[in-house]
């Protein structure tokens, strides 16, 4: 008598796969990567390659020699961390600092907690924030962007990010209008396209949006986190701008500068470190938005995206416990 496979239902599986999801995120980052190469040239390629390679290497070494288990570096998750880390640093960052960032990101923030799926914090952001605190000078010296290979050695010139210029100006008692017209500040259209000082990946809002649309299409991310994050951040900015336009800049400026778009679509939406329920995701998104703006408007740092997301990452277990989905048939349950 023939014997057949016996297993419990369901007997079919959808075409979803971790590998597919992870590489999908990698593909979604390509437009922003291309923009950064356009503006920063080979430096951008260098930073990205060093970052990705060291993330993969650190994960490999830990899995091979510490955990002595299965090597799973081809699942794409370390590649994402590598690219995201590169996206969050200036293009002129020395190689050794990038390697340190990768060790912190993968070694401490990811593998120490048990690897893929177990890390409470976004690894790339932990790496980035570590570098920002440990190497503040190198991490805030931004090369001025220049069109690809236009002239050789502009890398030496450094300038601040628009958010940095704003913060500095306000500190010196200037009004928002004065700062905007000071000549240091790039035009809006340049900011939207990415022609401004900043980290690799946060240059072009449009390129990031293209990647985000791809992820929506592939169902890698849902609307909950991006919409609530962006919505609350912009609402926050709008309220202060309406009250006092002399000291607070308009929401559009906040939208196209700094790491907001990158954070909203690529880092806050990180599956592993974000909440599990739709309502929880909205709460988390609002938390990220409000914290980002609190830091941008009132904090010591010009940018608050990384800190905001990491802080909200820490709240995720509580959010998961506190915001359960509304069960089918729950509203009429009488206890």
């Amino acid at each position: 008598m023939n014997k057949y496979v016996v297993s419990l239902s369901p007997h079919i599986h959808g075409r979803e796969d971790v590998r597919k999801i992870m590489w999908g995120v990698v593909y979604a980052m390509i437009p922003a990567l291309l923009v950064s190469i356009y503006f920063f040239g080979l430096d951008s390629v260098r930073v990205t390659l060093i970052s990705v390679a060291s993330c993969l290497l650190v994960e490999y070494l830990i899995q091979r020699f510490f955990l002595k288990g299965k090597i799973s570096i081809t699942d794409g998750s370390a590649v994402i961390t590598g690219i995201l880390l590169a996206f969050n640093v200036p293009a002129n960052l020395p190689n050794w600092i990038i390697v340190v960032g990768a060790i912190v990101a993968i070694g401490i923030a990811k593998m120490s907690f048990g690897g893929l799926g177990k890390n409470p914090f976004n690894p790339a952001l932990v790496g980035r924030v570590f570098l920002l605190i440990a190497f503040p000078v190198q991490m805030t010296s931004w090369p001025k962007p220049h069109a690809l290979f236009s002239d050789g050695v502009v890398d030496a010139i450094t300038g601040a990010t628009p958010l940095g210029i704003l913060k500095e100006g306000l500190k010196n008692g200037m009004s928002v209008d004065q700062i905007m017209q000071s000549g240091e500040m790039p035009r809006y259209v340049d900011m939207m396209l990415g022609n401004m000082g900043g980290s690799l990946g946060e240059m072009s809002a449009i390129a990031l949006l293209i990647g985000a649309i791809y992820m929506f299409w592939k169902k890698i991310i849902t609307w909950h986190i991006p919409v609530s994050y962006l919505g609350s951040a912009l609402a926050f900015a709008l309220i202060f701008w309406l009250i006092d336009p002399v000291h607070y800049v308009n929401p559009l400026f906040h939208l196209v500068t700094g790491g907001l778009m990158l954070g909203v679509f690529f880092m806050a939406t990180d599956m592993v470190s974000s909440p599990m329920t739709p309502v929880g995701m909205i709460v988390y998104g609002i938390g990220c938005g409000v914290l980002t703006m609190l830091i941008r408007l009132f904090g010591a740092y010009p940018e608050g995206v990384s800190f905001a997301i990491l802080l909200m990452n820490a709240f995720v277990p509580l959010i998961n416990a506190g915001f359960k989905p509304k069960r089918f048939g729950e509203k009429i349950v009488k206890k």
């Binding site: 496979v5 239902s9 007997h11 893929l116 599990m276 349950v333």
Partner: protein, 443 residues
């Protein structure tokens, strides 16, 4: 017609309704039939025949004595050769009456004439008693005794009968063919069910991938008062009782309660036809329509006697292919895999699927990446990843608190899991344990 559907969760597996165009073919009586005495979601029935007895087609051979149980009748004429434990299509070993068959000689009173008889003058009580004695169970696969479902508790009131023609499982087409080919009997059966429940209104829910059935029944329904057809968007698991009620009426059956709580009773189309035959033709439930599909050379829909070995149907469909890896009793989402092809067709067998080796084995599971796709897919708005985790660490208290008992085991969570985690295996374990705890509390 505006398409309706349920709101929360659900998935869209490939439909693969490859046997949809195949007319129902009657299977010749096999030499031997194997009739398990328990073909119901309830207590086993007690055999009333013994080895060597001669039985007629339609004769009672096992009596359902418990409240939730169902009579079993002989699907053929012949001699009882053995009564012993046999593995049936549910995968369990059950007491089975084995009959060597000969040409049909019908039990007295059974009308074999195919003429449609619409009028029914019986009282609701008489109808329910006829249904009970005919051993009818829910034929969508759940096999709950139909007469029990029709006995509405005195403090509740049914106002709407929903007829389940959704057939949301991929591959299966037995209900589809039944609606197309036996529409009139179906309609007459629905009227009898309405009478038994004392309701004025019945709605047949059909997914929009069966447009011909929708059109056919919609046309037929004009000559039957109170019956209408509702087309539904294609989404699994719409055939789930609670999901169907939600889709058609917008009402949510409260957690842990029965559909009658919101005034509804749901019956499968196959059940309605069986009810028609039982009430109008005195014919007990001894045959059903079974889809044979998947990796076979001739996918088909068969009208087959209960107790027919699955291998007989597979032989008619071109035999079991060399590279067959799995045989499933039921649909691919909720069906049960059987370990051999000799198991008999039972009252709940809606389909037999053969899968090739390459898709028979599960992928190796990897770690959960907390993507929350299972939470989004769950039609009961549970958190499958969490329930599975809680079951894994045997925290039954939290399992119960997180409503593990509400799980309908539709498999949507596992279907979408990108880490191939055995979520439903763990959740079933949790349900079993929590169920035990709840029952021990009542005692």
């Amino acid at each position: 017609m505006k398409l309706k559907t349920f709101i929360k969760g659900g998935v869209h597996p490939p439909e693969n309704k490859i046997s949809a165009g195949e007319k129902i073919v009657e299977v010749p009586l096999p030499k031997t039939v194997y009739v398990p005495v328990q073909q119901v979601l309830g207590a086993p029935s007690v055999p009333v025949v013994k080895k060597g007895d001669r039985v007629k087609t339609g004769q009672l051979i096992a009596k359902g004595e418990a409240f939730i149980s169902a009579n079993v009748h002989s699907p053929a004429t012949g001699t009882v050769s053995k009564i012993e434990e046999v593995t049936d299509s549910s995968g369990y070993r059950k007491t089975t009456i084995i009959i060597d068959t000969e040409a049909d000689e019908w039990e007295e009173g059974i009308i074999t004439d195919k003429g449609i008889q619409r009028e029914c003058t019986l009282s609701p009580e008489e109808i329910i008693s006829k249904i009970k004695s005919a051993g009818i169970v829910g034929m969508g696969g759940a096999t709950f005794p139909t007469h029990v479902k029709l006995m509405v508790p005195p403090d509740k009131k049914a106002e709407l009968l929903l007829i389940n023609g959704v057939e949301c499982e991929p591959y299966l087409t037995s209900d589809h063919r039944l609606m197309l080919e036996r529409g009139e009997e179906l309609m007459a059966g629905i009227q009898i069910l309405m009478k038994a429940l004392k309701v004025e209104k019945a709605i047949i829910g059909i997914e929009n991938n069966k447009k011909d059935a929708i059109a056919h029944l919609d046309a037929l329904s004009r000559s039957f008062s109170g019956i209408s057809v509702q087309a539904l968007k294609v989404k699994y698991p719409q055939g789930g009782e609670k999901q169907l009620i939600k889709a058609i009426t917008g009402r949510e059956v409260p957690s842990g309660k029965l559909p009658v709580e919101v005034g509804c009773v749901v019956q499968n189309v196959g059940t309605a036809v069986a009810v028609y035959e039982a009430v109008q033709k005195n014919k007990p439930l001894i045959e059903r329509i079974v889809t044979v599909s998947g990796f076979v050379s001739h996918p088909a829909n068969y009208l087959t006697r209960i107790g027919t070995p699955v291998s007989v149907l597979l032989e008619l469909s071109g035999g079991i292919p060399e590279k067959a890896g799995k045989i499933i009793n039921g649909g691919p989402m909720m069906g049960k895999a059987v370990n051999n092809a000799e198991v008999p067709v039972t009252k709940g067998t809606s389909g037999i699927l053969v899968f090739p080796e390459d898709i028979s084995l599960r992928h190796e599971p990897i770690t959960c990446i907390r993507c929350s796709k299972c939470v989004q897919a769950c039609p009961m708005s549970l958190e499958p990843y969490y329930l599975a985790q809680l079951s894994e660490i045997k925290d039954w208290e939290k399992c119960e608190k997180n409503m593990v008992m509400d799980c309908i085991e539709c498999g949507s969570c596992m279907y979408v899991c990108p880490s191939y985690r055995p979520l439903l295996d763990y959740i079933r374990m949790g349900k079993t344990q929590v169920g035990k705890i709840i029952r021990s509390r009542v005692k």
